[in-house]
Symmetry: D2
Subunit: 354 residues, 4 copies
């Protein structure tokens, strides 16, 4: 009889619980990781609210790090006991989508996002890693588990937002919303060489964090139309690029409207809970001819990306850990999850340790 | 007193006429061209319908070729009598937008499109060329005026549609609508290495022309939902890239819906006459995370682009002239324009000779 | 005791022979293919000449197609009996190099090129396919084995030469050498939208084939310095892009010298047999500041690329089979190989059928 | 009779002097700038040594800022008295090279580099600006003349080195040589998101400055083969990208050899004084198939680039002024130039004020 482990699972829509399940066995291409630390993600709140059609009982979580507990027979180049992180997206690397470089779309639309969506997630004492040779990312000795966990989704997604924005060195970039992913997009805009970063946010602690992470200006959208404020800040010209990091119609539309001709809107917000189709205002869209681009994407996966995200933290260029506003042991995970769902106490990211 | 020339002008919204105006004098950076041939564009029909806020009396036209009649004092490298074409977009090349490579957005949104929109157009016996050093494009001896005129807008815009679609060699590309620009986008998809080109159209002569210009399949949208037909043709997978060449909500939405994850929608249709904002269906948009891109653009200008378009015709790779369904002398221009407005007699492009 | 199969192997440097070996068993991620057709490649001639440090007895060949004979336990999505081709490069898809998109450099420099270089090749009655899920490429029903075999190396490499040349629509492109790979680069230049293609070659049958495959001009380097001839053809301006498809110092240097400022040299020739380092003439190199680029690459692998190459042939856009100058049954493979080594009888590519 | 101004000119090869010349009059597209500050560049030392075929008496200098003294009749959007900087490269923006985006190659190889090479430079009390509409770059109020002068060449060239290196976020980047341009390339590597920057240098003050500007490691090439040291630092893997900022055979060859397969060498060093062609070691070059790229370039020009460089300094992200090791009034320019020629007193950049 297999040993049991504790998991944080969705019993049904609207209900979560710590549940015991058997510790899984890795298949030939898989690895089993014993979790040491994990971050809670707002995506899981959406999932529990019913945003994804997930079967009852599925384990939540996709931002976990740990040590290798067991390796499948075909997985070479790693050893048990090694500290590793695994990206929220765990592609097969071999399908046509992966071969084209769209690992997040492994097997089809959003298909690289497997934890919770397709299989058990990793907010659990142990978790499986598919295509382990490409997905296991060794954590450098100089990085804490906490720092490494930010590479799993927050940094990977936020920095991708900046990469997709096609920033030229010295450009003016607007980042809409400064939750954890938006804050990482702000970091990312700096990493791609933005000359000026304008963050849009209204919560004071997030506004302050945005400045700490590199924003030059913070526009408070409760103090007036953000597009007008951005136009004022840019002498009526608008931004070279914008990043939507919320997933709401207003921010999406503003992110298009504040762009000058030739600019790029990089969307990283999840629009799955929007009540209606997004709208492209014809003038903001340049009547379809303004040389504006809209790009979208989902957290890029794979160990080479993780290696590079780790490198940015090892060298001290990036430190996302100020976003860890709260810390809990795994036996408090439900309480932490509720805080996250209710955005209580200025929470940004809660760290769970095992 | 300056000599007079005949021009085809918009007297007021809904009314056109051949009007005499003084032959203009070129400024230091300008050239004066004596027109030899021109094509009528549907854009001018839109303009006369009131789509653009144009002052009464403005000369129409932006697809003209001719011979240099006079050169401004600063314009070197050309001589009077030389055969030249001028792109519909006539950028200054020096403003910030031009410097970033967005010559169509010269000075701001859509600002490179000057003929008729900002100054007199070139459906006239003579016309001025701003920034002549960069905008005058010598026509190779082996090209007819008719062929050269297609480079002014149709080929430049249509091929740009394919360039923006980021086609990988062998990709499946769908082109929505097979008017003159759409047909050129079909040509362009082949020129970027599409493996399979699916055209969407319902008029028999345009469907036949699409095949002649490289389409492998032509989907007739009157025979069933085009997205479903495209999915059937691609075993349920969808297209790698799509091009919208009409400027209508239905085609735009279909062009997004038929794309597989990671695909690019290249919009070249003019959406200025849409009654309402364009809509992004959330699933078709991949919930904002499907690695889909939407790109837009307006006819790229400049003599280097014209040189390259001419080269494609000189080598025989591209021959757009089968699209010339009708030919008229300039004194019949109003009749030709009415035919274009009413899409009579299977008209695609009417050529006007001077 | 396993059944035996015939293989065409290198006994030692300078010596080849048909040798019997056991039919191999596929591992969990592998497939076994029963060969139906194969092309002989000049690379194997280099190998037998000692260019690669290959252990004695290694089977030659890397351009084979066939039917699936057996599938490893983890390989899903395929079935026995299915017609498939396999690219000469068979990446793992999961290492850091593959994750960065450099499948030809799987595991390190040139590491994706496994057949013969690292394991037995596939000029044999059966052959193994590593990482079969990503490397097995189903052949469309409308393609012959012969056509499909061209996708394994010739088309993949030649077209990559054109892709790396960063051709803008209408550009002037020079292709140095019109062997099978160079001819495919000529095809590729057309597929990326070159306006004018200048091929460099001296053998009459290859010069004729170059024209057939899209070259507008063919420069015979025995009739005068090819760079001068190219400059004459381009009014002293030079080429927008060049492709080196031979692997010799003279062609490499000429490919740089004929480029105008801002141009790209795409190297696909193998320089492993050069006697000395390649040289960059300082003026041709623009003193290091001419905005010229040099790109290199090795046959890109994977089933998505094969799918796209097949699509180009299925639609009739590309037909490489006129390059099959000779045809042999497998029992004549040694004779065919000798002809290839000696470039007898105007041979370009010999097809071997099983 | 025109007024006279002082200029720092090259009397003949090997000899410089302060010479009086008439203050020039701007043509219709030009502007006249009254110089307020300038930096001396090692390029001028090369020029005086005879590297460029320059006519005797030509004024030196190409890193000057000042205020507009007069505007040509066609130059709109600026006013006399306005503070401006002008890039070392002053393109026409209209020729085919400029239209392709290669402003440094205006009119042909290196043709955008006009000051001193083609016309009088701007180490003078006044200087002319060609194509002034595109070349005049207003200096923001919050920037000193000194800071703005760094945008003219040092930052534009150094950052271009990083832009051409095609750095992915988190990559390991090596920068060879830490003179002023190399130091700016180090800054640039950080601005494009390098995870780890390895600088190669041996002079202690430059090694220290490299660390200050973002280098994580500094390899002293006098302490052992730099390629071996880089391999040791990267666990034998090598760099993702390298930048050559010296213009010497050894650094160029090392920059290629330290690259892993798939990496990019970005050359910004001037190789005009090399005694012989550069060499590409065959293994370092991956036998022509290693997916390595070599890119070259010359200081990109134009006011939009200047705007973006200024933005990086206005926001405090970049501060190049610590490189100003020495300061002189214009009447000491010859002394300053001699110090630069002899690299005396740990000089990096001397600032000349007017």
């Amino acid at each position: 009889m297999p040993e049991l482990m504790k998991t944080f699972s969705m019993i049904e829509v609207g209900k979560t619980e710590v549940v015991e399940k058997p510790i899984p066995e890795p298949g030939p291409d898989e690895a089993l990781v014993k979790t040491t630390a994990a971050l809670i993600c707002t995506s899981d709140v959406h999932t529990v609210n019913g945003a994804l059609p997930v079967e009852n009982g599925r384990t939540l979580g996709h931002e976990s790090v740990g040590v290798i507990a067991a390796l499948g027979s075909s997985v070479t180049g790693f050893q048990e006991g090694q500290r590793v992180a695994v990206n929220a997206v765990t592609p097969c690397f071999e399908c046509n989508y992966c071969q084209r470089g769209f690992t997040s779309q492994c097997g089809g639309l959003l298909g690289g996002y497997k934890y919770t969506a397709q299989v058990d997630g990793n907010m659990a004492e142990y978790f499986l890693v598919p295509a382990a040779k490409g997905n296991l990312a060794p954590i450098p000795d100089d990085l804490t588990d906490e720092a490494a966990a930010y590479a799993c989704d927050m940094l990977s997604t936020g920095l991708m937002g900046a990469e997709h924005a096609e920033i030229q060195i010295g450009d003016t970039v607007v980042v809409f919303a400064q939750g954890a992913v938006g804050l990482c997009a702000t970091i990312g805009a700096g990493l791609r060489g933005a000359g000026r970063i304008i963050a849009v946010e209204s919560l004071p602690n997030r506004m302050a964090m945005a400045k700490r992470f590199g924003a030059d200006d913070v526009v408070d959208f409760t103090q007036g139309d953000p597009v007008e404020q951005i136009m004022d800040l840019t002498d009526g010209v608008g931004a070279d690029a914008s990043i939507e990091a919320l997933g709401a119609p207003q921010t999406f539309e503003a992110a298009l409207a504040c762009l000058k001709a030739g600019g790029t809107l990089s969307n990283i917000g999840y629009h799955g809970e929007n009540p209606a189709p997004l709208q492209l205002d014809l003038m903001a869209f340049g009547l379809g001819m303004g040389d504006k681009s809209i790009r979208t994407g989902l957290c890029s996966g794979g160990s080479d990306r993780m290696r590079r995200l780790f490198s940015l933290m090892s060298s001290g260029r990036v430190d996302p850990t100020p976003m860890t506003t709260h810390r809990f042991a795994f036996d408090q995970v439900e309480h932490a999850f509720q805080m996250m769902a209710n955005k209580q106490d200025d929470i940004i990211k809660p760290l769970i340790t095992f």
